[in-house]
Structure formats: structure tokens, C-alpha cells
Amino acid sequence: MSDADDHSGMSEGELLAAEFALGVLASVERAAARQRMARERAFANMVAEWEQRLAPWAGEIAEVSPPPQVWDAIAAALPAPAAPSAGLWQNIVFWRGFALASALAAACLAVVIYLGVIGGSQPLVASIEGGGARTFVATVDTRRGTIAVVPAAFSADATRVPELWLIPADGKPRPLGLLRADRAVTITIPPQFAAQTVSDAVLAVSLEPPGGSPTGLPTGPVIGSGKLTSL
């Protein structure tokens, strides 16, 4: 088309890009615009520019929490990790080995805890879960007054750190300490919280600024929680 003059400097191509980004095209025109995006980099860029122009409008749309099964379905739909040559993170053999090692570690932990029981202490465990995955596993040694927390499916954020909270029957979170994404951490339970670190109390993990929550209460999103239970 040669009607660029009618459009005050917006070419027919850019108008189509704007229409696609707005979402006003019917199926056939949408499909044609998609093909053009795949073929022409300049056209794809114009679509991206229009998406950027209109994006602030989406700020009006209220957030709605999706039900937890959506994440489960996404995790199940991801392709199986690639062949061993694809590197450690994508290597299923590594993950199987890792799972086996984790199982062995859990078994060793169980033995240690069992010995602890014989020794007279009352160990507690919590599987801290959120978003359809187990993020941390916590084991309380009530005799020593410590909590050992092992990261499971948790990856570090660039700007925030995971912080552990004890939420006893009164529902008020108490800060226990910062966790690590890359290794287990053992936290000494502050003596004033020892009496509340009992079966059925909840452990939760939130994301906080480096150094931990400045307020003494969770300020970032809670990424997982789990009840303490006697082993």
C-alpha cells in the first residue's frame, strides 16, 4: 500500500505492528503478522516498541493469584533435561545421582537423628514447600537448640536473601536467621524462642534484603513454609 501520507508518517507496516500489539487483529491477520515478525526483524522491532508503549496500561489490571496446580502443570510440561553432554545442570544422570545422594544424606540424617532420640532429645523436621516445590528441609536438634537447614529446590536471587522464620501457635513470625541457597546452614535457636520451637509450629522462608528483614517481620514474599513434626 502507498497510503503512508494519510497516516502522518506511520507506514502501513508500523500500523500493522501497532494493531498486532494492541491485539485488535482477527485470527488470519494475526497469523500473517506473526509470519512477518519471523521474517522481518524491523517489523518485529516495531511490534516490540508498540508493546512497550502500551504496557503501562496493564498496570490497571488487578493481580490474581493463580491456583498452585498451575505451577505443577508447568513443571510437568517442561522438556526432560537434555543428554549428558549438555552440561551438569541439564544432565539427568547428574540429577539422578544428586537425588540418590540426597536420599543417602537423608538416610544418614535419619540415623543421626535416631541416635539423637536414643540420646534423649526430641528431633523435629519440617519440609519447607512453596510454589509446588520443596525449597528447604529443616531439622531441629532440640537438645543442642539448633536448626539445620538444607536447600532443596531453591536458587538464589541476585538482590535478596532467604530468611527463616518461626511461626508458633500465636501466628506471629520470629526471625531465626538467614539461609543460603548453596549450602546447609546451622542456626542456634535464640533462647527466648526455644519454648516455641515445638511440634506443629511452622517454619517459613521469605526473601529479604541483604542482611535480613530490617523490621523484624517478613517484608518480602514468603516462598515456602512447613510444619515441624516429630520424627
Binding site: 506511520m10 501497532a18 494493531e19 494475526r30 496500561w57 491456583p67 552440561g87 545442570w89
Partner: protein, 185 residues
């Protein structure tokens, strides 16, 4: 949480997804799924369909994370575009025509009355877009809203506003031209 921290967090996680990091996808999901679900729900109007679309959207994010260029788009813009496009595709595939309630031009709520969602885009971007939208004629703004929020086609909009299809096309195109000129000032 402040805007820049949120944006950097999502952008960094998107960068890790292309290396096959599932936990990074989960981080992106945790931070953005409520917004994307809201967007899909607004367009589709049905929870079960919006859930399907949300799932498709994050699987698309997993596959296309390498295409995300932080110098070209903000991460939320990129993610919302994926969710909107999935939702509109679903709408086109499942319904011939829909939502034929007339758009009341006169009683339209002033756009500037609505507050920005700071987690998404900066307040300035939002204020600027709304300033420009307020500069449009009410019928132009109403038509753009129907397309953006309800996923209406030109034909849907022409029916809702009782004008010929050609008129609706020129309203929208003229509105887009005005919008671009205004945003570039």
C-alpha cells in the same frame, strides 16, 4: 519492593532460564504469575481457560527466554506481551464473537483516575500514557480499551459501538498515530 530491584530480579532470572535453570523459571513465576494471570483472566473471563493460558505462557517463557533482550524491553513488558498474545490466540480460537455489550462512550471512566501499579512500570510511564490517552477523543479511547483489555477485534468493536467496520478501523489507526506522536513529545 521497589521497582528497580524487582525488574533486575526478573531480568536476572530470565537470563538464567536460557541456561536450563528450572529454579529460575520458578522465581520468575513466583514474582510475575499473579499479574499475568490477571491479564489472561481479564481477556478470557474464565478461570479454567486463563489457567491453561498461564501454563502455556510460562512454557513459552522457558523456550524463548534467550530471545529476551533487557536493552530492548522491560521484563514485565515482555512477559505481559507473551501472556496477552496467548490469551488473544485462545480467544480467537474458541469464540466467534463475544461481549457484545455496547461501549458507553459518554459514561466512560476517566483513565487518569486509575492509579498505576508500581510493580509493573514506573509511575512516570503510566502517567505519560494516561496523559496521552486522555488527549484522545472518547470514542477513540473506548475502542482502544476494548481491544487492549477485552481482546476485541475490529468487528467486535464495530458491533459494540454500532459503527461500520471501516469507521472503526480508521478510529483505531488514527488513535494509534496520535498516541505515538504524543508519547514521543
Amino acid at each position: 519492593m521497589d521497582l528497580d530491584a524487582n525488574r533486575n530480579l526478573i531480568a536476572a532470572a530470565l537470563g538464567r532460564i536460557s541456561g536450563g535453570d528450572r529454579a529460575a523459571l520458578q522465581t520468575v513465576y513466583r514474582l510475575t504469575s499473579a499479574k499475568l494471570f490477571g491479564v489472561a483472566l481479564r481477556i478470557l473471563g474464565e478461570r479454567s481457560e486463563a489457567e491453561d493460558v498461564l501454563q502455556e505462557a510460562y512454557v513459552t517463557v522457558w523456550r524463548k527466554a534467550a530471545d529476551f533482550d533487557p536493552n530492548r524491553a522491560s521484563p514485565m513488558t515482555w512477559l505481559i506481551a507473551i501472556a496477552r498474545n496467548r490469551a488473544i490466540d485462545r480467544l480467537r480460537a474458541t469464540r466467534q464473537s463475544r461481549r457484545m455489550d455496547p461501549i458507553e462512550q459518554a459514561s466512560e471512566v476517566a483513565d487518569s483516575a486509575i492509579t498505576a501499579d508500581n510493580a509493573l512500570e514506573s509511575a512516570q510511564d503510566h502517567a505519560r500514557l494516561h496523559g496521552c490517552l486522555d488527549g484522545l477523543a472518547a470514542h477513540e479511547r473506548g475502542a482502544l480499551r476494548g481491544a487492549f483489555f477485552d481482546g476485541d477485534t475490529y468487528e467486535d468493536l464495530a458491533a459494540r459501538m454500532s459503527v461500520p467496520l471501516g469507521t472503526m478501523k480508521s478510529w483505531i489507526r488514527r488513535a494509534m498515530i496520535k498516541l505515538k506522536v504524543c508519547l514521543e513529545q
